[in-house]
Symmetry: C3
């Protein structure tokens, strides 16, 4: 999948998962991000603290597609770099293509995977076996 | 594979390789690391200098499974990010899951691969072809 | 593919693409880089500003193989880390193996993919569908 023109990567992956009925998948990407928002989890306040970077090279993107309550659930991590080449990243809350494109490779798996909230830690955990 | 509860990623991959007799594999992961120890090689003293990070997002994890002297040999590199979103990483000496989980995708290859010490550089090199 | 001895990664991937007539591929790598040159695009001057790092762990490498004007076109992004473990990276202009090796996994796709200059942005964009 190649995304251009300020496409939202998370929304595009969700739409693809619904359209092609992807049971589960792992994906990888590189490209140029107009907006990349990472969240670091605050275990005291139980919220992600967001930080947004603009117009960055997407140095790495790794994620998974699963399902939750009948909807695609996209989990993505990555790193971005700017004019100082220093990498920042983590858990991705939002990702939009910048000038140019983001190339994404989707490795489809035939096993349907679900995500569920683990009540002990209030975190969303992929259910495998 | 989804690991939770302070599981050790390297040990879990070794156990999986033995249990499922994986000839060789490439793996990828994301998640939350309780302990991530990276080693940077000191070519003068011929040792890895370790540095440990705690409670970090695992922004990227890439590695390979091969065999050495009849035992699984796991080689993994990655990057982690903390509350400042800055990425640190390199060659992984140790990796344990933190609160939440680490999701790992294993791409199994049918060719059996071995690692051997290259005497010229005292480094462990994967033998392909 | 395992590269050693100051091999140039981009040239090695191009040669492999020609030799094995790879229609398109995604690749991943880890290892130790003698030379890693990253480019950050200057949209005003329309050139990549290069920065070279030497003797770094290659913490991540993700890229794609396609074709342009009958020649392999390699697009690669990555992160490297040095003795301070801090990650730097982005779009790769050049990458050579250092002491030790770089292990590369190539995921071959059967669809032939081409890259073309998008005249609106003067950027090379992979053509899918």
């Amino acid at each position: 999948m190649v995304l251009t023109d300020k496409n939202n990567v998370i929304e595009a992956l969700s739409a693809l998962a619904e359209r092609e009925k992807i049971p589960s998948a792992t994906f990888f990407g590189i490209g140029f991000a107009g907006v990349a928002t990472f969240g670091f989890y605050d275990f005291d306040d139980k919220v992600f603290i967001p930080k947004t970077y603009n117009n960055m090279e997407l140095a790495s993107l790794t994620g998974s597609i699963a399902w939750q309550n009948g909807k695609p659930s996209i989990h993505a991590h990555g790193t971005t770099t700017g004019a100082d080449y220093v990498a920042s990243g983590g858990h991705i809350l939002d990702l939009e293509v910048g000038t140019g494109s983001i190339e994404i490779t989707i490795l489809r798996h035939e096993q349907k995977l679900e995500r569920k909230i683990d009540p002990a830690i209030q975190a969303n955990v992929l259910q495998v076996r």
